[in-house]
Symmetry: C2
Subunit: 303 residues, 2 copies
């Protein structure tokens, strides 16, 4: 490798568990990428600037602006950026907050999250992906589903987030498959499409039975030899199915686009397809970068 990286601006996605940064060219191309596990959740307030410098200092010779989104703007983050209230556009350049810095090479703007008053809900990070969808699919009108630790469903119309709803599906899957009694019967990361489909279908057709279906995974492992991959896939199907049961107003008869990690989005797409909804998928990273680009002063001219 030769030559310095001199980005026009730097994109940062700073969540609870991870920190990701991209050196962006003026033409919108990614010049370099860096990641660390210095997530918001493990940093004291005074730890944010050093953590960022560890990752991006080689890119700072031209003092490029840094634009960040995610939990970095939460109360436990670098500096708290107040939520904006829906309905509103997913991002607003005028609502960016400047993080306090000591290194003169740094100039860091943080995007605010969104809140909904009734029913109460919040997001930090997904608003940037939603803005990215609107940049990648101009004029998009419909629903955006963002599967993850805390999956979000957002209704988007006329360039605004109209309403949204959060589900703890990913976190429940992690807790149940790794820390509950069910972990004994689902070691490894095997998969079984038919078991996943059964879980989705069971949860959607009889959602009130969800409490009864979870322990059955353990019991079937003990007495009828349910395989770990089938148990794991059915648990995923049950949890995604119960999410779909509650999110029905978001997808029934709606245009739906999925934004998320590839494997997880594929599972949601499969579950939705079984309900007659064909949902195209976009990469979460592409959407994050497109959303952050819409905030960068370097892309002002391109708006």
């Amino acid at each position: 490798m030769t030559g310095a990286v001199d980005p026009a601006w730097i994109a940062v996605d700073w969540g609870t568990s991870n920190l990701r940064a991209w050196a962006m060219g003026a033409d919108g191309r990614v010049l370099a990428e860096a990641t660390s596990d210095d997530g918001m959740g493990r940093l004291p307030r005074e730890g944010f600037e050093p953590a960022l410098l560890r990752l991006i200092s080689p890119w700072l010779s031209e003092r490029p602006p840094v634009v960040a989104c995610g939990m970095v703007g939460s109360r436990q983050g670098w500096c708290e950026v107040p939520y904006r209230t829906v309905p509103c556009p997913p991002l607003d350049r005028d609502a960016l907050a400047l993080a306090p810095v000591t290194d003169p090479r740094l100039q860091v703007s943080i995007a605010p999250g969104l809140k909904q008053v009734q029913p109460a809900d919040v997001m930090r990070g997904e608003e940037t992906q939603i803005a990215g969808v609107l940049r990648l699919m101009p004029g998009y009108d419909g629903v955006i589903c963002l599967p993850g630790t805390h999956s979000k469903w957002a209704h988007v119309s006329a360039g605004e987030v109209v309403s949204f709803q959060t589900f703890m599906t990913g976190e429940l899957f992690a807790l149940l498959s790794e820390q509950s009694v069910l972990r004994h019967g689902m070691q490894g990361d095997g998969w079984d499409d038919a078991a996943f489909d059964t879980g989705v279908s069971d949860a959607l057709s009889r959602p009130e039975r969800i409490g009864a279906r979870l322990f059955a995974l353990r019991a079937e492992g003990l007495i009828v030899g349910l395989s770990p991959q089938a148990a794991r896939a059915r648990l995923s199907g049950l949890l995604i199915g119960i999410e779909l049961a509650a999110a029905k107003p978001y997808w029934l008869g709606q245009r739906v686009t999925l934004v998320g990690a590839e494997t997880l989005s594929a599972a949601y797409a499969r579950a939705l397809a079984a309900q007659g909804v064909e949902a195209p998928r976009l990469s979460a990273t592409d959407c994050t970068l497109a959303g952050l680009a819409s905030l960068s002063p370097e892309t002002e001219a391109a708006r």
Copy 2:
């Protein structure tokens, strides 16, 4: 304290997390009690005998028989005791297994758990409490609900367990309130009856919304100041409510008796009362001891 404890027999409840032992008199009274945190979950197979001796060796001069129930008889326990299959009486003296011991003062019988083939389900320990209910309330016909980490509902008729169903309610509450993102909004052990009632009612009336209601606890804490005690109580209500939604065939129009820890049983009784079901409560310890007594050779004459 003076005088040796010379029990007629020793009762042992040996679960995943705890070990409890009682020195029992010939008249059925408790002469002494001892507990430790040497649960099945933290012991290798060769660790069971020493753990038991640490607790009960002062009581062994007359070589009293020891009768044990719980996870001690599981595959990961002292010795695996095969499940008996429902419908059947909750306990059967002829199905006791003798644990392998080296100390000549020890003679340890372990009660088998119960399994149900369809829908698949298992229990270890609760069958002894059910037997205790039948001893304390001879001829009991109806439903027994045993709230706990893995709550059980059992239909009992003509002295037999006809069917049962397990719910992971207690484990879900622990995972969500202590390890998930919800923990931030529910520190302490405060309580709020009205919030509990709301949770039960919401979950029972719209069980398919459960996935949406969990994250709302966090969001309401962030943006409308939901108190930790209200968040905690509503989470409990939601989880017990979703259990009641699935367990409806067990309690609707049925005679129900609750067996469990006092505070938890009171919460279940409150939730059931709101549905028009008045469920009397028995102490879990009383039922365990009554069930184990029915297995003790010392109580043969009293059968």
